[in-house]
Amino acid sequence: MKGVQQLSRRTISAIRMGDFAVSANDGVLRSLLGSCIGLALYDHTHKVGGLAHIVLPQSRGHGGPAGKFVDTAIPALYAEMETLAGRSLKPTARIAGGANMFSTTVIQTIGTQNIEATERLLSELRIPLLGRHCGGEKGRRMSLDTATGVITIEIVGSDPIEL
């Protein structure tokens, strides 16, 4: 199934634009973000996590990878985590990205819409949003360690931070 990777022990997996992956208890999920949104879901009790690299706010019936749009990526990511766990989960969420290096109106608008759509859908699904690291002009490397739930944000020229 395209768009889904289930990871083995200590695998570091790169999640690219419009893609997502889930892992239980061990893998590190990583994504390089620019204007897109990185969404990490994690269930601390069962140590199951997922990371999506979301590009646009709404699919509006278009095809393409489920991970590309907020309205398809979040349900798909959530469902895949529950499939991997074999049970219902109660994840929490953190988001990062939505930068605008070139200061264009289109990208600024998309970034804002992505953040708003993500927050709205997380709220509807009753998934608490515990942290965000969004905006600015620089890219980010977002990593989710599914053994611990720790999310690290790296920016070129700055010290890494824990989100």
Binding site: A14, R16, M17, G18, D19, L32, L33, G34, S35, C36, V55, L56, H62, G63, G64, P65, K68, A99, N100, M101, F102, T104, V106, I107, I110, K138, G139, R140, R141, V156, G157
Partner: protein, 213 residues
Amino acid sequence: MKAQRENVLSIEQLDAFRTAFHEGAAEASTALGRWIDKPTRISFDVVEQLPLDEATRVLGSEGEPICFCVAQMTGRLTGQLILAFSDASGLALADLLLDQPRGTAGAWGQMETSAALETANIIACTFLNSLYRNFPADPSATSELLPTPPRFSRDYAASLIEFAVMDQVVATDHVLVAQTEFQIDGDPVDWTLLFIPDAESMMTLREALRERR
């Protein structure tokens, strides 16, 4: 899916654009050679429409920080023109331009950054002038193709590409990326020029290349 198909170039349009891009890259390479007074050559030259997950890999090691000078294109075509290079390549070029022994430049100071920006400006202006001359004429289009003054930065390669293709991504799952690599004979300098039009320019390209056929 009609809209998706309408936002990509046909094989014939891509071939026609490839010819114009190659001309521009060749002229930019010549201008670079004159600027540094050394023989330069194009080691790689490709125009592709790539799926999103492949587009972020065009600069190779996507997780490594790279340096780049980016200029916005203005006029008939709009979007991003990017000159990307490793720290080593950029600093080696600064040594060349500042006429100092190789390895003298060890960090990005004002002089090194200025050398990179001026080089990017020369390449961008030459490339766009050539593209304008070789692009199908449109009687209603009077505006030239010009770059804004370039800006220098360092970031992850994949993040840079994501910023650049974002405007196209709104309309399609495939993005047009034109790429050429310059090498300088005898020096460890390897720079990549990326031409990434925005969604509006994709429409212009399709119309203009339809005129040519």
